[in-house]
């Protein structure tokens, strides 16, 4: 059973119009994506899929996605003029529409972000009411909502790695809310995505990062 709503779901959220799925949700997908990149992007390739492909301009989702890439929050009045802010900050971007990606949710966005020699690819869905789900990160299945604390670990696919990481996290008193694991192939590279109710200590992140079988670690605290 779904959790009951709050008074502030009925009178709220405070947001930039016109639509929670086309503005608030879109801003949040971009805010999650720049945290995956770990930096302010210099270039962004943005693809709107399915329902979004046709309606993104009319609903201002183009401005919403750029606003999120500039790390504006969902109630920031600058969202409306985000394209001007992007010009000022030198963010280069392209928009593309793809109409029939039938395996994707109706409101899906793919972002390819670049900063220096770093590049990430993030796919996210805007599921209504500002709720999002990041479904893919750099080709790996992800599946997180970015309203908790998320850790994405790319590591060798080997026995005990999940148990080890879960144990280290538990030392910080973190409760794991959701978890997904995917891999390129047996004994190849695996990706673990964990959502936690509370944050990790910097020391813990540093430790996990220092393990020789861990290739990459991305830590995303609650994006709001």
């Amino acid at each position: 059973m779904a959790e009951r709503s709050s008074v502030f779901d009925m009178i709220g959220p405070v947001m930039i119009g016109p639509s929670s799925s086309h503005t608030a949700g879109v801003v949040r997908i971009a805010r999650a994506a720049i945290r995956v990149l770990g930096d302010q992007p210099e270039e962004a390739e943005i693809t709107f899929y399915n329902s979004f492909a046709q309606t993104y301009e009319g609903h201002g989702s183009d401005r919403a996605i750029i606003a999120g890439l500039l790390d504006f929050k969902t109630d920031d009045k600058r969202i409306k003029k985000s394209l001007d802010h992007a010009k000022e900050k030198g963010l280069k971007y392209t928009f593309k529409s793809v109409g029939n990606a039938s395996t994707f949710h109706p409101n899906t966005i793919r972002l390819v972000l670049k900063s220096g020699n770093k590049e990430v690819e993030v796919i996210g869905e805007s599921r209504g009411g500002g709720v999002i789900r990041i479904t893919e990160v750099n080709g790996f299945t992800a599946g997180f909502s970015a309203n908790l604390h998320t850790i994405i670990i790319t590591a060798d696919d080997r026995p005990g790695s999940i148990a080890f990481i879960a144990d280290v996290i538990s030392q910080d008193g973190c409760n794991i809310a959701t978890m997904s694991v995917s891999r390129k192939g047996k004994n190849d590279i695996a990706c673990q995505v964990l959502e936690m109710d509370s944050g990790l200590r910097p020391l813990t992140i540093e430790y996990l990062n220092s393990l020789n079988w861990v290739h990459n670690l991305i830590y995303i605290p609650n994006i709001d």
């Binding site: 009951r4 709503s5 709050s6 008074v7 502030f8 779901d9 009925m10 009178i11 709220g12 959220p13 405070v14 947001m15 930039i16 119009g17 016109p18 639509s19 929670s20 503005t23 709107f48 492909a53 046709q54 309606t55 993104y56 301009e57 009319g58 609903h59 201002g60 401005r63 109630d75 009045k77 969202i79 409306k80 593309k96 529409s97 793809v98 109409g99 029939n100 990606a101 039938s102 395996t103 994707f104 209504g128």
Partner: protein, 300 residues
């Protein structure tokens, strides 16, 4: 506590047995279930009300044109028009509801109440109510708590989403929330408040969601104004103890039933009603992105 919002009858019964005012169980729900202090709830709602008033004022003073061109400073024109149809207050009510909703359509800051598509109704109604009756902010916040209680029940028993229940679920619910708040703030009894909700639902029942080009503009903006008017007419009727005959819980059930049996083309898909008219289709062609790549292989 969670049984509280299973229906209006249990809300009333709880108020009577505990000797509480109508807004108090809602406050109790939020503090007990969501762990917020009473002060946090009050301040949060006061902030929301400030954003609502700010949206009204922006819509009546700033340039409000949407990218599609369908919304072009309508609220200001209504506010300043020399011919007054009923009374200056009515003219203000209508223009304020339009103003806040136009701000939403034009990417300004609003409060979704309960949704972004219905974000003009509570601002228009409460701003006008406070202005006319010199009500304190505290009283308005109590009214907002009553509104939230109404919405929590509708969400549970019917729906608040246009894609699920049509426009009645969005502007209809907002009008019901606003009507209940009016009667509460003017000192109406619990029965009168719930009667206002019932009458409003009866007036808004069956309204489809048929946005032109899929945008939250036409007819959403004008429907926010009419919903604000209906909230006031229902409150006027209910305050005089005129019965809705069909009890409020049953009205909500009817709304849920109508929403369920409504065809998909009338639920935010922009396939029916006004969206499907000749002009609606022309606008859609002009406004929607046409440069769309179609993938050759269905498997991506």
């Amino acid at each position: 506590m969670s049984f509280l919002f299973n229906g209006f009858a249990s809300w009333k019964e709880y108020c009577e047995t505990q000797q509480l005012k109508l807004h108090q169980p809602v406050l109790e729900y939020e503090t007990k279930q969501k762990g917020r202090s009473e002060e946090e709830v009050f301040n949060g709602l006061l902030q929301a009300y400030e954003v609502m008033k700010e949206a009204v004022n922006s819509g009546l003073s700033e340039e409000m044109s949407s990218r599609s061109g369908m919304i072009k400073n309508g609220a200001k024109k209504v506010y300043n028009h020399p011919v007054t149809v009923l009374s200056p207050e009515f003219q203000k009510l209508i223009s304020r509801a339009l103003a806040a909703k136009e701000v939403n359509s034009c990417m300004g800051r609003i409060v979704a109440a309960p949704t972004a598509g219905a974000s003009g109704i509570l601002p228009g109604v409460l701003y006008t109510l406070q202005d006319l009756h010199n009500l304190s902010d505290k009283k308005i916040v109590e009214g907002l708590l009553v509104s939230a209680g109404i919405a929590l029940i509708i969400e549970q028993k019917a729906s608040l989403a246009g894609a699920v229940g049509g426009c009645q679920a969005e502007t209809g619910s907002a009008a019901a929330m606003a009507s209940g708040a009016i009667v509460y703030c003017l000192g109406g009894s619990v029965d009168q408040v719930f009667n206002a909700v019932a009458i409003t639902i009866q007036c808004m029942l069956g309204l489809i969601c048929d946005p032109v080009a899929g945008l939250v503009e036409v007819p959403c903006v004008v429907r926010n104004a009419s919903a604000a008017a209906i909230a006031n007419s229902s409150a006027q009727i209910a305050l005089a103890d005129v019965s809705a005959v069909i009890p409020v819980d049953e009205c909500v059930d009817a709304m849920g039933e109508v929403g369920q049996s409504m065809e998909t083309r009338y639920k935010e898909t922009a396939l029916g009603g006004l969206a499907a008219t000749k002009t609606g289709q022309q606008i859609s062609k002009r406004v929607l992105v046409q440069d769309i790549e179609i993938l050759p292989d269905e498997d991506k």
